[in-house]
């Protein structure tokens, strides 16, 4: 099935890695990205990290009620975002994907508007924070029930195939999601249909407090693709270049009509599961420190530095620029003002319903 020209062997023993921890290129092929493209990847990594940090601040300020920390996931997310065609391909993300979405071109002020449920949010404040979605970018609005977006992602991919649009569907999820029935049903159907879809597991080794050993008897998520008849790849998701190249290959396979793939990105979340979690009760600080040393941004800085594309000063300057951009976006989102309560009755059905109008009346009498 795999053509000779494909770079990566599926079901690899060791995670695919293209930059070692000292920042050396260890790929067995020539890097085909320009200096500018490399710097662009760096900018997105930094932007995602800073966005995550800013979310913590608006949480403390009481402007939002919930954050799902994504620091440690940026390598995989930037790689994935850069492997698809924004606004053409369809993305079915999950709640920890802010870097993926920001990199894809989801306007940051709209991400903030979703976080703060202001009028600017195209989802009209209906969902809890970290649940964005944007029709113009074909970003399917995030749903909380774990893995429930996987079967719809497959449906969109089958639709793209039937209609011959050439679009690819990308769906992301955590390691815990791979235990859900919906997840298996989705991969199984995608395999049977040869649907143009990439399943991307962001394996941060924990589903809240439950580690992967308790989640599954199989050591690798990628191996599960065997059962569905398509390739599975395990990638060092803290290596942005490995993430990008493998994601690109999976997307291209799908685009060429070769069907689905499952890509497992080994990442780590530095923060707690969410702002409602305390991770100290289930993992040691030493463990967190161990993974922080493999940080995707630090590693990529070393890589860029060796090529004369990064200095600490340039890094600092970029951070300041991005911070200013994020602050402006936050202000814009906030200025839109809160979603009014009577919006509650809109968008349920495409046609008016007397029942909802009666209930709107009950609410309006209380306001």
């Amino acid at each position: 099935m795999i053509k000779d020209t494909w770079r990566f062997e599926p079901f690899n023993e060791e995670p695919i890695r293209l930059i070692d921890e000292e920042g050396n290129w260890i790929g067995e092929f020539d890097l085909d990205l320009s200096d500018q493209e490399l710097q662009e990847l760096y900018r997105h990594l930094v932007r995602g990290r800073l966005l995550d940090e800013r979310y913590q601040i608006i949480l403390r300020q009481g402007k939002t009620s919930f954050v799902a920390p994504s620091a440690g996931h940026e390598g995989a997310q930037v790689g994935l975002a850069k492997a698809v065609r924004p606004g053409f391909d369809w993305i079915f993300p999950y709640y920890r994907d802010k870097t993926l979405l920001a990199t894809l071109g989801y306007p940051v002020e709209l991400l903030y508007a979703q976080m703060m449920a202001t009028r600017l949010d195209p989802n009209k404040g209906r969902q809890m924070p970290e649940h964005p979605g944007l029709r113009e970018l074909n970003v399917f609005t995030v749903a909380s029930p774990i893995a429930s977006h996987a079967p719809p992602a497959v449906g969109a991919a089958i639709s793209a195939k039937i209609q011959g649009t050439g679009q690819v569907v990308l769906t992301t999820f955590g390691d815990g999601a791979t235990s859900e029935g919906d997840w298996h049903a989705a991969l199984n159907f995608a395999g049977a249909q040869g649907a143009p879809i990439v399943f991307a597991a962001e394996n941060n080794r924990y589903a809240i407090s439950v580690n992967f050993e308790k989640q599954s008897g199989s050591p690798r998520i990628a191996d599960k693709a065997h059962a569905y008849g398509f390739p599975g790849y395990q990638v060092d998701g803290m290596d942005v270049l490995a993430s990008l190249y493998v994601a690109r290959e999976a997307v291209e396979r799908a685009r060429q009509g070769l069907g689905p793939s499952l890509v497992e990105f080994l990442v780590y979340r530095y923060g707690p599961h969410s702002s409602a979690d305390d991770d100290r009760v289930y993992r040691s600080r030493e463990e967190v420190e161990f993974w922080r040393k493999k940080d995707p941004i630090l590693r990529f800085e070393r890589f860029l530095e060796k090529r004369g594309l990064w200095t600490p000063e340039a890094g600092e300057k970029l951070r300041e620029e991005v911070k200013a951009e994020l602050l402006a976006a936050e202000e814009k989102a906030e200025a839109a003002g809160p979603v009014p309560p009577e919006w509650m009755f809109d968008d349920l059905y495409s046609t008016p319903y007397w029942l909802l109008e009666e209930q709107r009346g009950i609410l309006l009498a209380e306001l």
Partner: protein, 324 residues
């Protein structure tokens, strides 16, 4: 005019809609060459091919979930669940994805899709081939729920459901699939959702039914006529949206009502209708509104028919209402 039974009406609706709009696709277990276990999709695979009549893996979550994705991506999927009793593995997809997609995305995305399922008892199938699970769906904001009881209504309502921009759960009373035949106009027609049908006019008592027991309601009305009681029979046809106006107009006229349905009574849609009538018409009622329903047990294999609201049960409650 052709004479059709309900299965043939389903098939004709699917065929006409697939011919009219190439975005309409059918998916489910055995819907392809086999034409569905009840033959509701018979011949469609041969006519429209495997891309539009899709035999799926045996996984209801995949069927309903994929329909959501197809719908939001631009197709008009009609999913078949082999029996309503098997919707539960796909329940989360209906409740968490299909029902909420338009709402939770602020109207950015929608799921214009139909989930068809044969429902109800009377086929000697025991509790896993006989249930009427509509209350789970009427309780879920964002779904429309349609339950026809005649070939003409099945044809007209299914076509409307396929054209509707919201997810519609379309429950077909399977015991009536081949039990009722009627002449159906050859020319194309649709029937709007949310309109009850007055099946028979009367002045003393309103029998409000939907789905399978509409048949028993009509028979009970015949019996009541013999006893000198004039019963009006309403077929709700659509539960979400439901036609409160027609119901209230009828009960305001008769002053008495029974709500008749096959599903268990507790927290049923029949309870919703009964409560609404009592809230809005209390001073015009001459008796309480009684719910005549299936029992609050699982649907037993034996007795099969006696679980459902029988003509006798309807008449017993009618007497109670008339004697009140």
């Amino acid at each position: 005019m052709a004479t059709l039974n309900i299965v043939q009406a389903v098939k004709r609706a699917l065929d006409e809609e697939m011919a009219r709009d190439e975005r309409v696709v059918v998916l489910g277990e055995d819907v392809g060459k086999r034409g569905g276990v009840f033959l509701a999709t018979e011949g469609l695979y041969q006519k429209y091919g495997p891309d539009r009549v899709i035999d799926t893996p045996l996984a209801e979550a995949a069927i309903i979930g994929a329909a959501v994705g197809m719908a939001t991506h631009g197709l008009r999927p009609v999913a078949e669940i082999q029996f309503a009793d098997y919707v539960f593995p796909g329940f989360d997809q209906l409740v968490s994805q299909a029902a909420k997609l338009r709402y939770r995305s602020g109207g950015q995305f929608s799921a214009p899709m139909v989930v068809r399922m044969p429902s109800g008892g009377g086929v000697k199938g025991g509790h896993h081939h006989s249930q009427s699970p509509e209350a789970y769906f009427t309780h879920t904001a964002g779904l429309k729920v349609v339950v026809p009881s005649t070939p003409t209504d099945t044809l007209g309502l299914l076509k409307t459901a396929i054209r509707d921009d919201d997810p519609v759960v379309f429950m077909e009373p399977k015991r009536l699939y081949r039990a009722i035949k009627e002449e159906v106009p050859d020319e194309e027609f649709t029937i709007p959702l949310g309109q009850a049908r007055i099946r028979r006019e009367g002045t003393d008592l309103t029998l409000i039914a939907y789905g399978g027991p509409t048949v028993e309601a009509l028979k009970a009305a015949d019996e009541l006529t013999k006893a000198g009681v004039s019963a009006e029979v309403l077929d709700l046809r659509s539960l979400v949206p439901w036609d409160k106006e027609t119901v209230l107009n009828s009960v305001a006229k008769t002053g008495r009502a029974l709500v008749i349905a096959e599903a268990p009574r507790t927290a049923s849609f029949a309870s919703e209708v009964a409560a609404t009538v009592m809230e809005e018409l209390l001073d015009q009622l001459m008796s309480p509104v009684y719910r005549v329903t299936g029992f609050d047990t699982p649907y037993p294999y034996v007795p099969d028919r006696e679980y459902m609201p029988t003509v006798t049960r309807i008449l017993n409650f009618a007497k109670k209402a008339l004697d009140y």
